[in-house]
């Protein structure tokens, strides 16, 4: 019924159970029920990409997913990107390249970049702009974000070749 139900899913490698209502979006449940507040809410209508998470390896906007749809899913959120206190290449490239100002868009950009680099380890500037077109940033003007993604891709390529 429209009452609560238990959803079992894996978040960043850990299996979790959560009690939620069908009307709750995955974004709401991540933030409000599970305290994964790294995933941000910008628009709540699929346009800004701030709420991007990887669901079974594919980037999705979690504001347009019902939490009950995530039954059995493997999620990766921004909290699963760093390894302990060790930032990954994308995170450090954003930091070093000043690819953020207020930072509300950053978790979404980083998760989306992880999806891009998994699919295409050596993207052109055009590939990057196209793949990140579903992520909006009001502060940076995008150029620094694109450069940070290029830097992260290079660093990862070098790391892989040694």
């Amino acid at each position: 019924m429209s009452g609560k139900r238990v959803v079992t899913l894996t978040i960043n490698g850990d299996q979790t159970e959560v009690l939620c209502e069908p009307r709750q979006t995955l974004l709401e449940v991540l933030r409000n029920n599970l305290d994964f507040t790294g995933t941000k809410e910008g628009c709540s209508n699929g346009n800004c990409g701030a709420c991007t998470v990887l669901m079974d390896g594919r980037p999705v906007v979690s504001c347009l997913v019902l939490a009950v749809e995530a039954e059995g899913a493997e999620l990766r959120t921004i909290e699963g990107v760093a390894c302990g206190s060790h930032l990954d290449e994308v995170q450090s490239a954003f930091l070093e390249g000043a690819a953020l100002q207020c930072g509300i868009c950053t978790p979404g950009f980083i998760v989306q970049t992880e999806a891009l680099l998994a699919e295409n380890p050596n993207p052109s500037e055009d590939d990057i702009r196209f793949y990140l077109a579903g992520n909006l940033c009001r502060c940076t003007g995008y150029d620094k974000i694109v450069r940070a993604v290029q830097a992260a891709a290079e660093k990862r390529q070098v790391a892989r070749s040694v």
């Binding site: 019924m1 429209s2 139900r5 209502e21 069908p22 009307r23 709750q24 979006t25 709540s44 209508n45 699929g46 346009n47 990409g49 991007t52 669901m55 594919r58 980037p59 999705v60 906007v61 504001c63 347009l64 997913v65 019902l66 009950v68 749809e69 039954e71 989306q112 999806a115 055009d126 702009r129 196209f130 793949y131 990140l132 077109a133 579903g134 992520n135």
Partner: protein, 298 residues
């Protein structure tokens, strides 16, 4: 969001039964990229949401003697990652690359795009151009409706209460054929079409004459349109500017767009002609095996 029940049936029969049981108060959920937002803003308040992504018939993406079968719930990224779609049903791949950004394409389906029945839906003109047929199942059995007859008005279509779109089937592509979809938007990506045009052409063996063509228009009428007269006049004609101009003129004649913030009526009619010509040129080039230098999704 309002409170509702969520069901995820695993057979079409079960889904139909659920839809029938909740006559008119249940809604199918595919990728949710239209429906979840529509529920959030209160435009729709179904009592039951029926997730159709676990139905195997709606996840089919395969080719057989009848042609290409695309399950109604198959998301865009699977469609444009498919080798056959890319090489033979190229207009459909073009459309799927355009719907939203990558995140939206992970979930958005062509079934949802069609059933949402927006005048500017980007996959509908391609489906019309490629001769798509909707396979619909309901309490009274299965029926087929050509894509161009599916939408009946903005947000309206031929589905009766209790009916589900199962798949869209496309006929086998003939030799010397090519197709393309393109839309006019003021940005490079993530926008709603000012005008969208899909076309499929079949050339004669020499590659110099049209054997047949199908042209479809989006965002210029309350529903996507099959440009029948413009399509028919191409048969037997040489591929040249004069022929393409005739088709563009005939297509403009059936456009009855509105004026809104994206463009005036006059502008949309003008753009219809320009796009019809360009899309036909690209479809012809593809039919000849030439590279059209088109950058996907732009």
């Amino acid at each position: 969001m309002h409170a509702f029940d969520y069901q995820a049936p695993t057979t079409v029969a079960e889904a139909i039964q659920l839809l029938a049981k909740h006559n008119g108060t249940a809604r199918p959920l595919a990728g949710g990229t239209d429906l979840i937002d529509q529920m959030r803003v209160g435009r729709f308040a179904p009592e039951v949401v029926i997730d159709v992504k676990k139905l195997k018939e709606l996840n089919v993406l395969s080719v057989d003697a009848d042609g290409l079968h695309v399950g109604a719930a198959v998301p865009c990224y699977r469609i444009y990652s498919d080798e056959t779609v890319n090489s033979q049903y190229t207009a459909l791949a073009d459309s799927c690359h355009i719907i939203g950004g990558i995140q939206i394409q992970s979930r958005a389906s062509i079934g949802g795009n069609l059933c949402n029945s927006g005048p500017a839906a980007d996959s509908t003109p391609s489906m019309i151009a490629l001769g798509g047929v909707c396979v619909i199942t309901g309490p009274d059995g299965t029926r087929e409706v050509p894509v161009e007859s599916f939408c009946t008005g903005p947000g309206k279509n031929v589905l009766k209460p209790g009916e589900l779109l199962v798949e869209v089937r496309f006929p086998t592509r003939p030799a010397n054929s090519g197709s393309h979809y393109r839309r006019m938007i003021p940005r490079n990506e993530m926008d709603i079409a000012v005008v969208g045009v899909g076309a499929s052409v079949v050339l004669d063996a020499s590659g110099q004459k049209f054997a047949s063509a199908r042209i479809a228009l989006g965002a210029v009428a309350p529903t996507p349109l099959f440009a029948q007269a413009a399509s028919a006049l191409l048969a037997g004609q040489p591929v040249n500017d004069e022929t393409l101009d005739k088709a563009a003129t005939a297509a403009r004649e059936i456009a009855s767009p509105i004026t809104d913030m994206r463009g005036t009526r006059e502008y949309r009619i003008h753009v219809t002609g320009v796009l019809v010509k360009r899309v036909l040129q690209a479809a012809v080039a593809r039919a000849r095996g030439e590279d059209i230098g088109y950058c996907r999704g732009h």
